[in-house]
């Protein structure tokens, strides 16, 4: 393959991944890495390096839009970023210690989870907002969001559980070059009882900071190759921006189903190739 062909193909694949990732809320990283490794035979380390960069681009690029909606909570995000950044540093250190085959298998398992989420779960209905428990009150994690002309107040609970899950989300992000937004949302929405919409928008904010914590280590170890990262970053960013624009008109259910099926196929291929040592 010539450099021009490679750049064009990777850009197009990345744009598609970014587009679908934005429409389904699953992010582009989960598709970019398997697409690069399985379809183009790119080494996992280059693929996760390029993906990590694109994760920062989509998170930072979408930030202004999310802020306008008025749901994100900067305190919850900043406090939990202590956990995600520590996890991300640990994950980035682990990349060099774990063999490529094992990385592929772990990635495949994360993909299975993403596919399950896309195929079987509609957007979860938020439970009623809760009052903060003692620790969340001391950390002032309560907030409010716009609802029916006024503002709905909410609190948080189970800070320790949420913090631990966030650390795991950070490890996976640093290990696999993904945003692990799904796990971040689970930590806030399920564990801490923070309203779903607040959880998703705050998660988007956190993804970029988490990824930046691995970026220095990725750079030094040479995982970020400019010739691979350039088309991935520009493609995912373009796809995500277009995806965010058409989000309102999309038939989300059909799309989630198709996307979920694609991810499931990629997951199986990743795991099989990892076990056979072909990745």
């Amino acid at each position: 393959m010539t450099a021009l062909e490679f750049t064009v193909v990777v850009w197009a694949l990345s744009a598609l991944a970014g587009f679908l990732g934005a429409l389904t809320g699953l992010g582009g990283g989960v598709v970019v890495v398997p697409a690069l490794t399985l379809a183009l035979g790119v080494d996992m380390k280059y693929a996760i390096g390029a993906s990590l960069v694109s994760v920062i681009a989509t998170s930072s690029g979408a930030a202004a839009a999310y802020v306008r909606e008025g749901f994100s909570n900067i305190r919850i995000g900043m406090f939990l970023e202590i956990a995600t950044t520590l996890g991300a540093v640990a994950g980035a250190i682990l990349v060099g210690r774990i063999g490529t085959h094992a990385l592929a298998i772990i990635f495949g398992l994360v993909l299975v989870q993403a596919a399950y989420q896309a195929l079987f779960k509609a957007a979860p209905e938020s439970g009623l907002p809760v009052a903060s428990d003692a620790l969340a009150t001391r950390l002032r994690l309560n907030g409010d969001y716009p609802a029916g002309g006024g503002r709905q107040k909410y609190g948080a609970r189970n800070v320790r559980t949420g913090f631990s899950i966030m650390f795991t989300a950070g490890v996976l992000s640093g290990l696999l070059g993904i945003g692990s937004g799904a796990l971040k949302v689970i930590a806030m929405d399920r564990a801490m009882h923070i309203p779903f919409k607040v959880s998703t928008t705050t998660s988007n904010f956190m993804i970029g900071v988490t990824a930046a914590a691995s970026a220095g280590l990725y750079l030094v170890h040479g995982y970020i190759d400019p010739r691979v990262a350039m088309p991935v970053m520009l493609g995912v960013l373009a796809g995500a921006l277009v995806g965010a624009k058409v989000l309102v008109h999309a038939r989300a259910r059909t799309l989630r189903f198709v996307f979920g099926a694609v991810i499931l196929i990629l997951a199986v291929e990743m795991i099989v190739n990892g076990i056979l040592g072909k990745v």
């Binding site: 035979g41 980035a92 750079l219």
Partner: protein
């Protein structure tokens, strides 16, 4: 106008967007230069080979970009991108300090220190 969380987030959101667009522009320029010079090169990335020191450290990247080397320019654009979330945390520290919120000034400082400790490896 007094600083509050909403205003702080709006400023930060805007900053991130500008940073990403700037990074994308620099990466595009570097990418175009790379393709003009190397479009016919055979490439394959099947086996991981750690890159030269030029493209793995901040000083190396800045030097390479200053010499208008295409790959250096791309990496420099990516550095701008990596800097956007770091700047976000820096701004949050300033914002919380203006709000006289000591707890969250410290929380943000801890996050910044973790980020800088990781990025220091690349200097």
């Amino acid at each position: 106008m007094a600083m509050d969380d909403r205003r702080l987030e709006t400023i930060i959101g805007r900053l991130l967007q500008v940073g990403v667009l700037l990074a994308a522009a620099v990466v595009t320029i570097g990418g175009a230069a790379y393709l003009v010079q190397h479009h016919a090169d055979r490439v394959e990335y099947r086996h991981f080979v750690p890159g030269g020191p030029d493209l793995c450290t901040f000083p190396g990247i800045v030097r390479s970009a200053a010499h208008f080397e295409s790959l250096g320019i791309i990496q420099f654009g990516l550095l701008i991108l990596i800097a956007t979330p770091v700047a976000r945390v820096g701004l949050a520290i300033a914002g919380f300090a203006l709000e006289r919120d000591r707890l969250y000034t410290v929380v943000s400082l801890i996050v910044l220190l973790i980020l800088l400790a990781s990025l220091l490896h690349a200097t």
